[in-house]
Structure formats: C-alpha cells, structure tokens
C-alpha cells in the first residue's frame, strides 16, 4: 500500500501556552504553541494535534485565537480537541482553521452528538478520542473499558464496542489512548491498538506510552495503527521527526 503512515506530534495547551514547554534548539518561545507547531511543520510532521487541556469557558477564546494563528503558519492538517461539547464549538474551531475536531467526554455523555457533528460537518473532520484501560486480570481474555476524566471515571463501556459504535455514528477517525500506558514511556498497549484497529473501518491513531522509536514501529506493525501520536519524545528533543521517519522506513513502513 502506498498510503504513508503518519507521525503526529501532540501539543497539550493550557490557556494558550504549551504545558511543560519543549526543548528545541534555538526556539524563541518554548511555550508558544504556534512557534512549536511551525517547527514541527518544517521538521516534516504529517499532522499536528492540539489538545486544549483547560478548555474552560474563558480559555475558549484563547484557543480560537491560537488555532487561527497556527492555521496561518502551518500547512499540514491540524486537529484540535479538548472540551468540545457543542456544535458551536466545532463550527468555531473549523472556522478558525482546524481541519479536524476531536470529541472525547461529550461523546460518552451524549453519543448522538457525534452523529449530529458528522452529519453537519462531515465525517472527515470528526475524530472521536477514546481513553481506554484494561479491566481484565492477568491470564484472562483482554477486555478494555472506556474511562473519562484522565482515567479516573469508569463508564462500563467496552472499548471495542464503543469504537465500532462511534465509527458507525460517523467518526472519521479514532484517536485511541491507553490510560495504562499514557506517560509511562513503555510503549503503546499493542493488544488494545490491534483490537480497535481490526474492529473499525476508519483510521486509528495510537497514543499513550511512546518512549522510543521502536514503539512507533510496533504501533504500526503489531498494533495496526494508521498513525502514531507522541508528545514528550519529540518535545524534549530525544528524537527528531526525521529520525523517527527514517527508523520507521528502515523497518519497512511507508512514510512521507
């Protein structure tokens, strides 16, 4: 297949500033999401994801402004998520220049919102973000459930069934985060990634746990992910996007 797999750096943004900053050589403002996005754009990132982690009412206007500035500088696809609850949020983000909008908690509380959003704006711009945790014990058949609020609140929803339902409702892509692996740098949950990727007809972005370049390769070859998302390994300059692409290419993965 000649379609390239994608590498997506993710920026966590709080009140218009990138959380934890980044460690690039010669960056003027390590907290400015626009500056960082511009660097990733130049470095060969295939897309950029922007997660507004505050997403309070006050911060929304800041987000729209940031997205608008970013869209004027970055000529690769831009996904924006965090606190998206209304059709009005989606419209504002798309008008500001986002290409895709990611819906997370609101989909769990009100699944019809995904259907409404996809019908209104088209599946191509609706991403459903799924935060999943393994709930089966050692030696049992693996089972994963959907969690909200950063992995604290269980919903009782089976992750595979939920992903299928979301694709059915019109999600054009699934952003899948393993809450067990997020922040651990021990690699994607490959069982989870494979289960979801095989279950849905739409592309799946694997997220949560990347600590080295082999993890990216495993996410694609073993997990079946169409795209891989990572934050810290790129932000802190451990690896460049180019190094990641070369490594993946060397392992037989088609890259841009």
């Amino acid at each position: 297949m000649s379609l390239a797999r994608r590498i997506i750096p993710c920026l966590d943004v709080d009140k218009g500033r990138v959380v934890k900053g980044v460690n690039f050589v010669e960056i003027r403002d390590a907290g400015d999401p626009v500056e960082i996005a511009r660097r990733y754009n130049e470095a060969g990132a295939d897309e950029i994801t922007f997660l507004d982690i505050t997403a309070s009412h006050e911060s929304r206007d800041t987000t729209y402004e940031t997205v608008e500035r970013m869209a004027g500088e970055v000529f690769i696809p831009l996904t924006v998520g965090g606190g998206v609850r209304h059709v009005g949020h989606i419209r504002n983000l798309l008008n500001a220049g986002a290409d895709k909008v990611s819906i997370n908690t609101a989909a769990v509380h009100h699944p019809e919102f995904v259907r409404e959003a996809a019908e209104r704006f088209g599946s191509q711009c609706i991403v459903v973000a799924i935060d999943a945790k393994r709930v089966s014990g050692e030696g049992e058949t693996p089972r994963y459930e959907i969690f909200t609020h950063g992995g604290r609140n269980a919903t009782g929803l089976d992750a595979v069934e939920w992903a299928k339902r979301m694709a059915d409702y019109g999600a054009g892509e699934i952003l899948l985060t393993s809450m067990d692996r997020d922040g651990t740098k021990s690699g994607f949950d490959l069982g989870l990634t494979r289960a979801i990727s095989d279950a849905v007809p739409v592309p799946v972005i694997a997220s949560g746990g990347v600590g080295n370049l082999q993890h990216l390769v495993d996410g694609v070859l073993e997990g079946g992910a169409d795209a891989v998302l990572a934050a810290s390994i790129f932000h802190f300059g451990e690896y460049t996007i180019a190094e990641a692409k070369d490594y993946m290419r060397d392992h037989g993965i088609v890259m841009r």
């Binding site: 390239a4 290409d99 007809p201």
Partner: protein
Amino acid sequence: MQEVAIIDYGMGNLHSVGKAIERVAPEVRVSITDQYERVRAADRVILPGVGAMRDCMAEIRRLGVDDWVREVVEQKPLLGICVGMQALMAASEENEGTEGIGMLPASVRFFGHDLREDGQRLKVPHMGWNQVFQTAAPALWRDIADGTRFYFVHSYYVEAEGNANLAGRCHYGVDLAAAVAAPNLFAVQFHPEKSHDAGLKLLRNFIDWDGSL
C-alpha cells in the same frame, strides 16, 4: 493587483486555503466571498468543499454557484479542491445519486465498505499522504517531482480509468483521479493547502497559470 476569489458557500475551511494563497502569493488579493460580483471581478477563482457532496450541491444550487462556475471557466482559471472537484463532475453515487455541476463527464464513486489491496483491508476514508503521478497539465506541476505525496481525506473518488481529463493519478485500492484538467479548469482531490511545500507550490502554479493546457 490580481485578485483570487474563494467561493464561500458555507461548506468548509476557507481560512486555510486563503492563508495558503497569501503565503505563496503575497501580491495577490484574496477574497472569500458568496457574492457573484466579487467572483465576476476576480482574475481567478477557487471552489473548495468538504463534507457530503449532496449538501455541497444543495448550497451550490441555492446560491447559483453552478452558473458562476460555468461562466468563470469560459473566462478565467478555476481551481476545484476535494468535494469542490467532485462537484464539477456529472454525478456522484453519494446518497443514492447526486447530480453535479457537470463541467466534466466523469462520475464520483464510493470506495465501498470492503476496499482491499493484496488481501489487506484498507481504511475508509482514504486519509493521509499518498503519491500523485502526473499525467497532464505540466504548468500546474511545475517544480513538483512526479510521485510527490499530497494530503488526502475522502470517501468518494473520481475514476481515473477512461478519464479523458486525468491530470494526476493516485492509487488506493483503486486507481483514482488525484487531479483533472481542462482549459481554465484544474481540480484536485487532495488538499494543496494542507500538503506542505508541494501543496503550496501547486497553489503558486495555479496563480501563475494562464488557463491553457
């Protein structure tokens, strides 16, 4: 001052297309408009579009954009992007048949729910960076290497096989038209405004195009 009109019929991210043109052609005035007068006054015109072709066509007809497009192509260059390209075709399979503007005879088809390549299932939408092989309209591909990757996101496609207007070919389970061309008309399935340097280059080439093939 040269002016480019981007037709705003309520379907899509026009901001990005406008910003990309401003980036590659600072000397050009960009107007995002739903007014016939602006389209008529412009030197060249862009027809974008995302989402469902049925919804796009409904708005195109409601505003009379189909008539504007026919007039534009008689006089000056038009660039169709994504569903803006599909809308220029005769018809689409979408929603059990949607009639297009009919500038070109090709039809728009669905990838299907079981798209395969070498026994592997392919995800739909076709989303990401895929290679485009140039077949015609060299002025638009100037300084872009054959086989360069552009960013696609779509579930319907214009057939490449037997397409007399084919200008660029892409393969994803099937051969699809990545670009089509006719005098004063160039249209792409991918998003040049999201395709990094190659996409920006193509937009610059469109600004410089005299409309002839």
